[in-house]
Every structure is written in structure tokens, then in C-alpha cells.
Amino acid sequence: MTEPRRLLSDPSGGLEAELLRAGVAEEPSSRAVERTVVAVSAGAATLSVVSAAASAPVAIGATAATSLGVAGITKLLAIGAVAGLASGGALLGITKAVEHRAETPAHVAPTVATATPVAEAPSIPPPPVAAPEASPVAEPSAAPAPAAHPAPASALSEGTPLAAEVALVDRAHAALRGGDARGALATLAAYESAFASPRLLPEVFALRMEASESAGDGTAARLWASRLVSRYPKSAQAARARTLLEGPPEADR
């Protein structure tokens, strides 16, 4: 079946073509793109921290919350404030939850989060982005997925292991992001033996893959990549692993 001829390729397109061309010519601002990139990173990272903090029993809860640190949470929210998130309402909800639930000092940044939605909220409120603020973890999704409810259920209330796994993975992440690839690898070194039923293996394999690459150990990176592909072929991380495996061979092989 051949494609119907496109209106814009029709020389006699006339006014129809002119109108369509006006639509073709419009581009988003780079500011809008960057703002979304920041929002997504901040939102996802904040959620993972809050889930750990809000759900774990007291002792581990304190550890998990402070492993990223009050400062870390504040910084993520500050990024949100600077970026001027439309979904600031979600972050506000999260901040209040963190204040309420975590064993942290009172200076968890309410002021930072408050600034965000007031400054940026459109005069006509958009459809609600966040779950109601009472919810301990607000998921900033508007559309298909209903606002999810957090913690209490199954996996996390089984106790400390998952929260501790998360804390470990977060620490390794932070190290890698901060340029300390070897530190990340060291943090992850005992992962499988530390946890009886580890649940974050794809992420850990992927992190080890990246950290190895960062540290200049191409052989190890490829090893983690092939493990990832063979054990979790359908995961999102596997796609990245395949890319690495298909790349040029490392010099140190």
C-alpha cells in the first residue's frame, strides 16, 4: 500500500498547506526541555528516597533518610524550585510527608517547597498532578496510572531488607554520579551476600557495568553487561547493556 501524497508536498497546496506549514514550523523552547529533564530526575530520585524513608521501620528509616540526608532531599527540592515545576504540588506533598514521617530534624525544607507551587502554578489549576497531600508518597502522574499508594503494603513492610537495599543502591549511585566509580563498586561489592533475597539485581548489575566502565575496566563492564542481558533480557537496563556489548572492544582486553 503506497502512502497517500502529503499535503505539504503538493505544489498546489494553497492555504491548507500554508496553515499546516505554520504548525510544522513551531518548536518547543530549550528551556522547556531542560526543565522537564530536571523535573524527571528530581522527582524520580526524590520518590525513591521518600519511599525508603517513609516505609521502613524506625531504625532503618532514620538511616535511609539520612543516607541521602536531609541536605540531599532539600537539594532535590531546591532543584525543583529553581526549575519551576508545574508539578510542584507533588513535591510539596512529598516534603510534608518527609517532615511528618522521617526521623529527621525540623529543618526539612518546607520553605523551599512552598515557594515552588506558588511561584509557578498557573492561574487556572491544571488537572491534579499529585495524589492528595495526605498520602505519604505522592506519585506525580496525571494520566493513565491512578495515584499509587505507597509503602504500607507487601514488599516494604516485610521489613528492613528492601529499604536497606535501596539505601545501598542510592549510595552507590551518588558515588558514581559524584565521579567516584571505585567507591560505587566498593559499595556494591557485597550486595548479593548482604541480602538473602536481593530484589534490585538488574539495577545493581547495570550500576556495576557503568561504574566499571567509568573506572576504565572495560572487561568487567562487558562481564556485567552480558550477565545483565542473559539474566534480565527484557529489562530496560538490558537495552543499555546490549549497546555496550556491541560497541568497540576495550583496549585492555
Binding site: M1, E3, P4, R6, L7, L8, L15, E16, E18, L19, L20, A22, G23, A25, E26, E27, P28, S29, A32, V33, R35, T36, V37, V40, S41, G43, A44, L47, S48, S51, L85, A86, P122, I124, P126, P127, V129, E139, P140, S141, A142, A143, P144, A145, P150, A151, A153, S154, A155, L156, L162, D170, H173, E203, A206, L207, A236, Q237, A239, R240
Partner: protein
């Protein structure tokens, strides 16, 4: 399970894979939202919402089918924004007519043309409007559109045909009204 997915999302976001998706697909999502009737600022905010939803569900997305997910989410989000706006503002008015005595420059012309385009698109039923946007403005193939919108190729072809007929009708009517107004304005000048 849900908590693990969030951690996956966090890891992916932090590692840059999702960021790459945002950078490569933001334009597509934003332009679609614009032609679905959102203003520029609203489209900025709504596009962000679309990607926030997508980031939470990234682990579920089949590689290579990201656009289908983003499209569906964008349609949902656009619908909600438009309903929210409609509750507090006037509904879409008639297609704007240019005042023929207004001096025009190219930028203004393009802006007006876009306003006219959007007003006409708003008159089309959603499923026709979507196919017209994706085919004629975004340049996607019928096969791609079928995959993204989840309908058969034949359906895409028939919707495109109907969309073009309706679009053409509205444009003709608009041109006629424009001409009438210009002639009347010319007669009324001393």
C-alpha cells in the same frame, strides 16, 4: 513491586537513559500537545506531566514502543487540560479572522496562521484530528500511526481521507469569510 519500579525509575533517570528519552521525544510530545489545542505555556507544563508519568512507568515500556506510550499519555493529559481550561474560560471561539487593514509581518503572519490552523483543527473529531496531525504535520507514516494509535492501517487511511476532506472544507469556508470581510472593509473605506 511498585516500590521496586520506582527505584528502577530512579536508577534509570539518574543514569541518563530516561533523560535521553526526554531529549529525543520532548519535541514530538510538545508539538502534539500544541496541535491538540494547548497554548504554549500549557504545553510546556503538560509535556512535563507526560514525562513524569512516563518516568514512573519506564520499566514497563517495551523498548521501541516508547512513542506509543507517550502518544497515549499525551492524549489523556491534553484532554484533562482542555477540560480544566474549558471550565474557567470561554470555549474555542470561531476561527479568527484577520483584520485586513492590519499591517502584517512574517512573524505575525505565521502566528496568525497557526492560530487559524489550531482553530480549524479544533473543529475536527479527535480521531481524525490526531491522524491529520501525525501524518501531515509530524510526517509519520501510516504504518507508524497505526502502531502508535493502536488501529489497523486501513482505519488510518480512511481516517486520514476523512480528516483531509473536513480540513479542506473548513479552510475553504474560512477563506470565503476572510474574502467577504476584506471586500466589505474595502467598500467601507472613504
Amino acid at each position: 513491586m511498585l516500590a521496586e519500579k520506582r527505584f528502577v525509575a530512579a536508577e534509570i533517570a539518574a543514569s541518563g537513559t530516561f533523560e535521553a528519552l526526554v531529549r529525543s521525544e520532548f519535541r514530538y510530545v510538545w508539538r502534539l500537545l500544541r496541535r491538540l489545542g494547548l497554548g504554549e505555556t500549557d504545553a510546556d507544563d503538560a509535556a512535563q506531566q507526560v514525562f513524569m508519568v512516563a518516568s514512573a512507568r519506564f520499566a514497563d515500556m517495551e523498548p521501541g514502543r516508547e512513542r506509543a506510550f507517550l502518544y497515549g499519555t499525551a492524549l489523556n493529559v491534553a484532554g484533562k487540560w482542555r477540560r480544566a481550561r474549558r471550565d474557567t474560560e470561554d470555549a474555542d471561539g470561531p476561527v479568527p479572522l484577520v483584520d485586513p487593514s492590519d499591517p502584517a509581518d512574517e512573524l505575525v503572519d505565521r502566528h496568525r496562521a497557526r492560530a487559524t490552523l489550531d482553530a480549524i483543527l479544533a473543529l475536527l473529531p479527535l480521531e481524525l484530528r490526531a491522524v491529520l496531525i501525525l501524518y501531515e504535520i509530524e510526517g509519520q507514516t501510516a504504518a507508524e500511526i497505526a502502531e502508535i494509535t493502536g488501529v489497523a492501517r486501513g482505519t488510518v487511511a480512511s481516517r486520514l481521507r476523512r480528516a483531509r476532506e473536513e480540513f479542506s472544507e473548513h479552510v475553504k469556508r474560512h477563506a470565503a469569510r476572510q474574502k467577504f470581510r476584506a471586500e466589505r472593509a474595502a467598500k467601507e473605506r472613504p
